[in-house]
Symmetry: C2
Subunit: 217 residues, 2 copies
């Protein structure tokens, strides 16, 4: 019964890997060469034992008495996640939110390339965002298929989210990042990730009222 690669990996582990990656990249930029699980734990608020255990799901990457070699661990995690090569994505919605996503340099820095931007408004179609020309959303399915693109980002008004999602599912998109508050339904072979600022605010609000009750008491 080996430690690595065989078992199904808990979702929590996968969720933490990008966090490790962020911290490691920051550490390397700060000039560090190695990092112990204690240091990573301090920076991420994750228990060091858990970090070590998470990593052993994929192999043993550290040196006892030393820690983890940052560059090589970055490389390992990137390979695990599949971010060791470039991924193209399509973006639907050329409003402020779409523009914010397209402008965001961090995407390219981490291996994501916005291949095309779509909108359905004649006032948007034909305009540029960065160096990409906004196209009619009707052209999306063809481009997704032709270029074999698997990631789609939804940044349209909430009413249009389900329609766009349906188009993406039908076109062969495999991962959807939905920036809309609408709870969209997707086909079984598509992974959906919702990001709703309001839902996040509501969640933190609970803790806000809690700490204030405590302060009152």
């Amino acid at each position: 019964m080996s430690t690595s690669e065989n078992d199904r990996i808990p979702e929590g582990v996968i969720e933490r890997l990008p966090t490790y990656l962020s911290v490691l990249i920051q550490l390397r930029q700060d000039g560090c060469y190695t990092a112990s699980s204690a240091k990573l734990g301090d920076l991420t608020d994750i228990n060091p034992a858990q970090i070590r255990r998470d990593l052993t799901h994929f192999g043993s990457f550290g040196k006892r008495g030393v820690g983890y070699e940052i560059v090589s661990l970055i490389d390992r995690i990137q390979r695990i996640l599949g971010s060791d090569h470039t991924h193209r994505l399509v973006l639907v919605g050329a409003g402020h939110l779409g523009a914010a996503i397209a402008d965001y340099n961090g995407l390219r820095a981490r291996g994501f390339v916005v291949s095309a931007i779509f909108d359905n408004s004649p006032s948007k179609i034909g305009t540029r965002i960065g160096d990409i020309i906004v196209q009619d959303v009707e052209a999306m399915p063809r481009i997704v298929r032709d270029q074999n693109i698997r990631i789609g980002v939804i940044a349209v008004p909430p009413e249009a989210a389900q329609t766009v999602s349906d188009m993406m599912c039908a076109s062969g998109i495999r991962v959807i990042l939905n920036y809309t508050p609408t709870m969209v339904r997707v086909t079984d072979d598509v992974t959906l990730h919702n990001t709703d600022p309001v839902r996040e605010l509501l969640h933190t609000l609970y803790y806000l009222s809690r700490t204030e009750s405590v302060a009152r008491a």
Copy 2:
């Protein structure tokens, strides 16, 4: 040992409440009056038993044989989360992302009001976003204190995130929503929520490569 209110509530429960709220609001808009845990489970992909159990942490809101009365459950959850009244927030960063957040109607619809928008660029200060005039970020601490605002949203370039976060912590902000990829450090009395599109993409990427390996096999 009563069922309600006393025990510490698991974080997972609190994370799911906003999801229930979203679905309930959609159901009511669709003209429904009651919803069973089975129906909610279907719409949220959450196990019905878990939904019932989550709710009993706070009381018993359903009618056996009938389900949950939607309006009253919405009301209950809003009270639990503290979203039964309006919350003001400040937004720092008047770029595309800031504009997208400020423009977003869903905020107001769920009880959040953008009280002020700040930037540090002379080209932004004095311009309007919606009906709010962008102010110099230097004015932020005073306004937060004077208006007793407890929620801050960071939508600035990554390099500036820690500085803005520090200012917010020092001003008395209690909840920070960070839309920057930078992992900021906050004081102990502040709740931080990070939203990084790249981190979310990386996370879903893992499942992408997985399903494709399976397809190959």
